[in-house]
Amino acid sequence: MIRDVIVTILYNRIAVFRAERGVSRRELAEAVGVNNQTIGYLERGDYKPSLELAMKIAVYFDVPIELIFSFRPFEPVADTLRRAAAAGERP
């Protein structure tokens, strides 16, 4: 089953990380050395990055690569916060 997912979609949370850090597409694009349209295509899922670009983005946000890219859809942020609140954690 995962094989079917691998060949079709690579999910990413670039837009979420950008919003959280207050980084514009242009800033991220300049930091990782691509055109800012490419960041837009990545966020929209229209382009799958090379391993090098994916790692540069992960390094830029200082998180492991699997927190940004995944073969499975990411949990919505609202669900994560709700779960954290229910567990008594600070969101």
């Binding site: 514009s24 691509v34 055109n35 349209q37 929209r44 229209d46």
Partner: protein, 168 residues
């Protein structure tokens, strides 16, 4: 104001700086190249039909053909980016795919044209073939225009619709 300053101002006033320094956003042309190719063919046919005794039709054909030729050059400049100092990995991928596919298409077309010429030169079925020098020269320019239009057209289909630029 010195002459150089005046020339500088002229470049910015005519917006040539956008063209020279590639400051414009690339555009996709998904149908225009096909239209330009059709116009090229129409111009060529008009010229070839009257190449033996050039007259008004030949002139009109020339204007149509070379007008379309110029449009092909500009479409390549304003279409998906193929040149420039900073093509990123996605643009390089689009460029290489577009050139690979158009190379195959052009090579196949050239091969089919050779077979056609073989049949036409044998005088079978009264097929037309280029005779005059202008026929061949125009055909060469036609190939050059196709070499500009095909990659632009293919890259325009490979390239996704532009993402809304939130920063602008």
């Amino acid at each position: 104001m010195t002459l150089l300053q005046k020339m500088d101002r002229l470049v910015y006033a005519t917006r040539l700086d956008r063209l020279i320094f590639m400051k414009f956003q690339p555009r996709t042309f998904r149908w225009t190249p096909l239209l330009v190719m059709a116009v090229l063919v129409a111009g060529y046919v008009l010229m070839a039909r009257t190449a033996s005794s050039p007259g008004r039709s030949f002139l009109i054909g020339s204007v149509i053909f070379y007008g379309a030729f110029m449009v092909a050059v500009f479409l390549r400049l304003f279409g998906p980016r193929f040149a420039g100092p900073a093509l990123d990995e996605r643009e390089l991928m689009v460029k290489s795919r577009a050139y690979a596919v158009s190379g195959i298409v052009l090579a196949s077309f050239a091969m089919m044209s050779c077979f056609y010429m073989a049949v036409a030169s044998a005088g079978l079925w009264g097929l037309w073939q280029p005779h005059a020098m202008s026929d061949w020269i125009t055909l060469g320019f036609g190939f050059q225009a196709a070499g500009n239009l095909l990659p632009t057209w293919i890259a325009s289909w490979i390239e996704p619709r532009p993402a809304a630029d939130e920063d602008d």
